[in-house]
């Protein structure tokens, strides 16, 4: 598509439309003309299969020699095509003439609908899609109303075919549009769906092992224009018209995908508002119209019976439930008694408002020891040279480059994986550097790949770089020595984004890596403008918020080394994350936890205060691209839990007498008045939306999924320091990572794990990998361990018994141990370890 506008006549009116644009999209966007479609989807290449979008099409005739328009009876002469044409396969060109509502067109559409319905069961009353079904809508709009096909003539097929653990297929309802197949092939790049048989017997199948099991499978249920694909989670859960859509933000990672929580007042939840499903909400800057299956299926934790439902006070050695009115004065007194020797450790799941109020509480107590509980120390640099304001990863393409270093992006931030994979499809140069194999590296390695449903062959360039275990800083810093050609290509790219992870790095290490990446970007001039800069793979949804609210890893390190008398642990679970935490936490006199669950940390706590999940309250997160986005109250609260900000404010009220604020909006007002980065970010501003291309939500009749419509706001992006002025390179602290006496143990991330939150969703829990440790064959040999052996991995603070995976995928001289796969905590940051063959088999979880 070019920027050149050309003249097109649609239904006798003239428009100037971008040359090369898809006719259906352009007609809708600029001419307010809805051309109905079934198979076409603006996020995928057209295939012209369903024939619903037929139009009459012609060309204004021009004289070959002179280029002049040929006139006939004072009007330009139009050469009409003899047959109806599919609009979805037409690209806008100069002089195009289209008629979308002539009797011939209407008859064509009517017959396509009639054909589709001949083998459709019309079981709308029991169909999950009923009420938001493009087929239903378009039948109302364009159909005949009566069927001439005898019901007994219809085909009867299987209505409950599991395509994997998460998605079910109703073969009768499928209209063979291939949207799901094309999504998996083109968008995800994992073609695990296909048609089987042919003609009327054409059906969707998967024969992959294990089934239809990608991290994005749920999106197919949104784009399916009928109720053929449903999720195991929501099937028969509710009717769309009973649902209220509440805008929210995916709380699991730094992408900040915009989601919509479909809720209704539900008997299963004491008549309170309850989330029935999670759907994507369109935000072209953030997640377009996709979400990961984690965002979609891991909402059950919000209603888990295991949730902490009332404040707890330790009395006589045991934790006992109490009420807030009793707990608040007690906790306030404990805080005051510290006489300023107080610190806060907050996790990246806490909202900006939570962090602000906690900070005010600490300040009131005379403390500024605010620790960020995270595994990545790059947030401060991301504030300087993070991706430029206005960045849209969807705009990266030919001539641009992306470097992903020290991250397994598909597992850590699936949405970024998806968008970067597509940037590569559009022609961007992708370099993936890590000490082990990842899915993204696989894609970068393929020099040429074909998108099978499209005719066009896509030359895909990329590089898969391997460095020694934990060697990211060294590689990045000396990229010119290690990979001069790659360095050159990155430097010369029109736009460059460096995605910086922290795998294999200590906090000092990730700070150093981020600095090295920042220096490269600054020196090559790839900062301070859209589609350029640093993208930090911070864990959790609000890693950047921690930074802007003043929570640092330096403070965390000091808290661990020199614990305070009283420590507030807010929305983080040190004892679940860190096997050595018991040791340093034992030095804290009074531990106060503010968490969703009575996790292990509670064992050391004097007080445990129940807080609310993202679904039960209002708030904002700042994503990895520094976009501040609102989420709204969707679900009734669990027990007596309070929003974290609210609990903190009430504690402060007890201590200082200042009135607690009454709403999250009021907190944000205060933030916007006090934190320069948040200048102007009031709730009203954050809730603003504008029309987005492509137009898929709202009154849309055919792209499906009413929830797409963004009513909650597109959010506002904090400018980086580079956006506002110049930034200077900094010194890289190449603090050597000492592995001590043992082997280097490198924690890795899995999207689905046994963390407290993920564990609560049955559909996902069944798909978590069995615990394992990854070893290079050479390393395994040294350890006298074979693939499949049970091994005991010992580290400071504990040990676990897991299965050894021996493979070239891993760098030698290290052990790669995924976090949260075992019942016992494993290290969150690299450390040294010992590995021995275990005598006993791995205990099943």
């Amino acid at each position: 598509m070019s920027d050149k506008l050309v003249k097109v006549i649609i239904d006798d009116k003239e428009y100037m439309l971008p040359q090369g644009a898809n006719l259906v999209d352009a007609a809708k966007w600029s001419a307010d003309t809805d051309i109905p479609v079934f198979c076409y989807h603006p996020k995928m290449a057209p295939v012209g299969m369903c024939r619903m979008c037929v139009v009459e099409q012609g060309m204004i005739e021009k004289d070959r020699a002179t280029g002049e328009v040929v006139m006939e009876n004072g009007q330009p002469k139009i050469r009409w095509m003899p047959k109806l044409q599919t609009a979805c396969t037409q690209l806008v060109s100069d002089g195009m003439v289209v008629r979308t509502n002539t009797p011939k067109v209407l008859a064509g559409r009517e017959s396509v609908i009639e054909f589709l319905l001949t083998s459709h069961p019309l079981d709308c009353p029991i169909c999950d899609k009923g009420g938001e079904c493009p087929l239903q809508n378009l039948t109302m709009a364009h159909g005949k109303g009566v069927s001439r096909m005898d019901f007994s003539d219809k085909m009867h097929l299987d209505k409950h075919v599991p395509l994997g653990d998460l998605i079910y297929l109703d073969e009768e309802r499928c209209i063979q549009c291939a949207r799901c197949i094309r999504f998996q092939d083109e968008v995800v790049g994992d073609d695990v769906l296909a048609f089987h048989e042919r003609g009327r017997r054409l059906q969707i199948i998967t024969k992959s092992d294990p089934g239809f099991d990608t991290y994005f499978s749920g999106n197919t249920t949104d784009i399916c224009p009928v109720g053929a694909l449903t999720t195991a989670d929501f099937r028969f859960g509710a009717r769309p018209w009973e649902l209220t859509e509440v805008p929210s933000i995916d709380p699991h990672d730094a992408a900040g995908s915009n989601i919509s929580l479909s809720t209704r007042l539900d008997r299963d939840f004491g008549g309170r508002a309850m989330i029935k499903r999670v759907m994507p909400r369109q935000n072209e800057f953030v997640n377009e119209i996709w979400i990961s299956d984690k965002a979609r299926f891991v909402h059950h934790f919000t209603r888990s019976d295991e949730r902490l439902q009332s404040p707890q006070i330790r009395r006589g050695g045991a934790m006992r439930p109490t009420v807030w009115n009793e707990a608040l004065p007690d906790v306030a007194n404990a805080l005051k008694a510290a006489e300023g020797d107080v610190a806060v450790l907050a996790g990246p799941g806490a909202s900006n408002e939570d962090l602000w109020e906690l900070k005010q509480l600490a300040k009131a107590l005379g403390s500024e020891r605010l620790g960020a509980w995270t595994t990545h120390a790059g947030a401060a640099l991301a504030a300087q040279v993070g991706v430029g304001k206005g960045t849209n990863l969807g705009k990266l393409g030919k001539g641009d480059a992306v470097l992903v270093i020290a991250s397994d992006l598909e597992e850590e931030v699936p949405m970024w994986f998806l968008r970067i994979k597509q940037a590569q499809d559009r022609g961007a140069y992708l370099v993936v550097a890590n000490h082990r194999e990842t899915r993204l590296a696989e894609l970068a390695r393929e020099t040429e790949r074909k998108v099978s449903t499209q005719t066009e062959r896509k030359a895909i360039r990329g590089a898969d770089v391997r460095y020694a275990a934990g060697g990211a800083v060294e590689w990045m810093r000396h990229i010119d020595a290690h990979a001069p050609e790659i360095a050159q290509k990155l430097r010369e790219a029109a736009n460059l984004v460096i995605v910086v992870g922290s795998e294999g790095l200590t906090l000092e290490g990730s700070a150093a890596l981020t600095q090295a990446a920042a220096n490269f970007l600054i020196e090559s001039g790839h900062v301070g403008k859209p589609q350029n800069g640093l993208l930090p793979v911070l864990p959790g949804a609000n890693g950047m918020g921690l930074h802007y609210m003043g929570y640092t890893v330096e403070n965390t390190l000091s808290i661990v080394q020199n614990p305070p008398k009283v420590l507030i642990v807010a929305q983080c679970e040190p004892l679940n994350d860190d096997p050595t935490a018991a040791e340093w936490l034992s030095k804290v006199e009074t531990l106060i936890t503010m968490n969703l669950f009575p996790d292990r940390t509670i064992e050391h706590a004097a007080y445990a205060l129940p807080i609310q999940s993202f679904a039960e309250r209002d708030g904002t997160f700042t994503n990895g691209e520094r976009r501040v986005q609102r989420f709204y109250t969707a679900q009734g609260p669990m027990g007596d839990s309070l929003a974290l900000w609210d609990a903190a404010a009430r504690l402060r009220e007890r201590i200082t007498g200042t009135r607690a604020k009454l709403s999250a909006a009021a907190v944000m007002l205060e933030i916007s008045n006090n934190v320069p980065a948040f200048d102007g970010m009031r709730y009203k501003e954050l809730a603003k939306v504008e029309r987005q291309f492509p137009d898929v939500g709202g009154t849309d009749q055919y792209y499906g999924g009413t929830a797409y419509q963004n009513k909650g706001g597109l959010g506002l992006q904090i400018p980086s320091e580079a956006d506002q002025g110049t930034v200077a390179v900094g010194a890289v602290n190449e603090a050597a990572l000492s592995a001590g006496d043992g082997l280097l143990l490198i924690p890795t991330t899995r999207l689905y794990d046994r963390s407290t939150i993920v564990r609560q969703s049955a559909v996902i829990a069944s798909r978590v990998a069995a615990p394992f440790v990854g070893l290079n064959p050479a390393t395994a040999e040294k350890l006298n361990v074979a693939d499949g052996d049970a091994v005991t991995v010992s580290f400071a603070g504990g040990h676990v018994t897991v299965t050894a995976h021996v493979s070239d995928a891993y760098a030698p001289d290290a052990a790669f141990l995924p976090r949260y796969l075992t019942a016992e905590p494993t290290p969150m940051l690299p450390t040294s370890a010992q590995i021995e063959r275990a005598t006993s088999v791995v205990a099943a979880l």
Binding site: F38, G108, V112, F115, L116, D153, R198, G199, R200, T455
Partner: protein
């Protein structure tokens, strides 16, 4: 009347075994190729243009013009030979490949040279396994004589020819479905543009010419004798000779080569010996397999030349010239049902009207054949067929609509018989699994 001026079935005239490369060489073999290699590719294309040769795969598109669409400057181009031949009543390409394989392969070399392709694929329907084996053996013989491979005949031109077997899908005769199939994908047609000749539209997205076997088998003769000599045969708009496949109710079914100027009467009465059973005169003719419009086999038809332009005047097409002849014992409703079963079975399923329409038509026709249909059903299928025509992705949908529309138009009484309450006798079998 007898066959005269044979080009493709020359071996019948000289009574020689053309599957022997020596014998083929002794009978003007490779003369056209050598001539072509001494010319520029553009000159070869001009010669073929001058011959008036039109595609024998059905659509009759001028072959030289098609070749000239290939962009000269693209580095990679392909030639693909369509030997999918799956239309009911069609068996001519098989005969060429079985009896005169070297002439066909020589044509391939000339065509590839003309468009600058260094690789040619012959896509054969899967059932032609033995034919493919024969062609493979022939290609090896040619390799021994430097007719295939690097620098053929010292010309500096490199060419490889490979066979590829389909596996039972009529739709793979449609050129874009064929290309998909050759790429290892489902044999479903592609949307056009881009066309196969364009960058992005052909095999592996490279510019590609797809030609029928018979089309290409004419090319050596054209090069040897000149385009003008070829143009002189046949009729004004239909140059040369054509292979006519005759099946059904005639005494001598088979493949016959005649100039386009020959009439249906010449072929059916004189060469094929007239009706199978003298007591049962001809009733109807499908001149182009199951897909072309049916006609009454009357004197007007008998006196008409079997050319593109003359058959068009009859409201039908000559297409691939697969004449299915039916005598007065034939129930045309049964024919409609039989043909519909074929298209239902062969619909690739990609586009809605054909996928659903063929299924629906078949269902209603079954009812009609079972004597349970009504007059409304006849109106219904005619209407359904008309709704399919003109709105499908490829021509198969059109092909499937034709038999219904034209049988009802020309033989309404045959349908009336079935819907007037009397039980019918014949009923086509369903396919296994249907």
């Amino acid at each position: 009347m007898t066959e005269t001026k044979r080009i493709l079935l020359r071996y019948r005239d000289v009574n020689a075994d053309f599957t022997d490369i020596e014998e083929y060489g002794a009978h003007d073999g490779w003369v056209g190729l050598k001539k072509a290699l001494s010319m520029t590719p553009a000159q070869v294309i001009d010669e073929v243009k001058a011959s008036g040769l039109r595609g024998r795969g059905g659509a009759g598109f001028p072959t030289g013009v098609k070749w000239s669409f290939i962009p000269v400057n693209e580095p990679v181009k392909y030639l693909v030979l369509n030997a999918d031949e799956s239309e009911t009543g069609t068996f001519k390409d098989r005969l060429i490949m079985e009896k005169n394989p070297y002439q066909f392969l020589e044509g391939c070399l000339i065509a590839a040279y003309a468009i600058g392709a260094k690789t040619a694929y012959i896509y054969l329907r899967g059932e032609y396994l033995e034919v493919a084996n024969l062609l493979d053996a022939c290609i090896e013989e040619m390799r021994k004589r430097n007719l295939v491979g690097k620098d053929i005949l010292g010309s500096g031109y490199d060419i490889e020819i490979y066979t590829h077997l389909g596996a039972g899908a009529y739709i793979c005769g449609e050129e874009t479905a064929l290309l998909n199939s050759l790429e290892g994908k489902l044999g479903q047609p592609r949307v056009r543009p881009p066309f196969p000749a364009n960058k992005g539209g052909g095999l592996y997205s490279e510019p590609t010419v797809v030609n029928n076997v018979e089309t290409i088998a004419n090319v050596p003769w054209i090069l040897q004798h000149g385009g003008a000599a070829y143009k002189a045969i046949g009729t004004e708009q239909s140059a040369g000779t054509k292979l006519y496949c005759v099946s059904g109710h005639v005494k001598r079914p088979g493949v016959y080569e005649l100039p386009f100027s020959a009439t249906f009467g010449d072929l059916l009465n004189e060469i094929c010996g007239g009706p199978l059973d003298e007591a049962h005169p001809f009733k109807a003719l499908l001149p182009s397999g199951g897909s072309g419009p049916i006609v009454h086999l009357n004197d007007e038809v008998m006196n008409t030349p079997m050319s593109y332009e003359h058959t068009a005047k009859l409201g039908t097409i000559i297409g691939s010239a697969s004449l299915i002849v039916m005598d007065d014992r034939t129930d045309i409703t049964w024919v409609a049902s039989k043909v519909t079963k074929f298209f239902k079975h062969e619909s690739c399923g990609k586009c809605t009207p054909c996928r659903e329409g063929t299924y629906w038509l078949d269902k209603v026709l079954d009812r009609i054949m079972a004597g349970e249909g009504t007059e409304k059903d006849v109106v219904l299928i005619e209407n359904v067929a008309k709704n399919m025509a003109g709105i499908t992705l490829c021509a198969l949908g059109e092909f499937a609509a034709n038999p219904i529309i034209h049988t009802i138009k020309h033989f309404p009484e045959d349908f009336k018989k079935h819907v007037s309450g009397k039980k019918a006798v014949s009923k086509p079998l369903p396919m296994a699994g249907d």
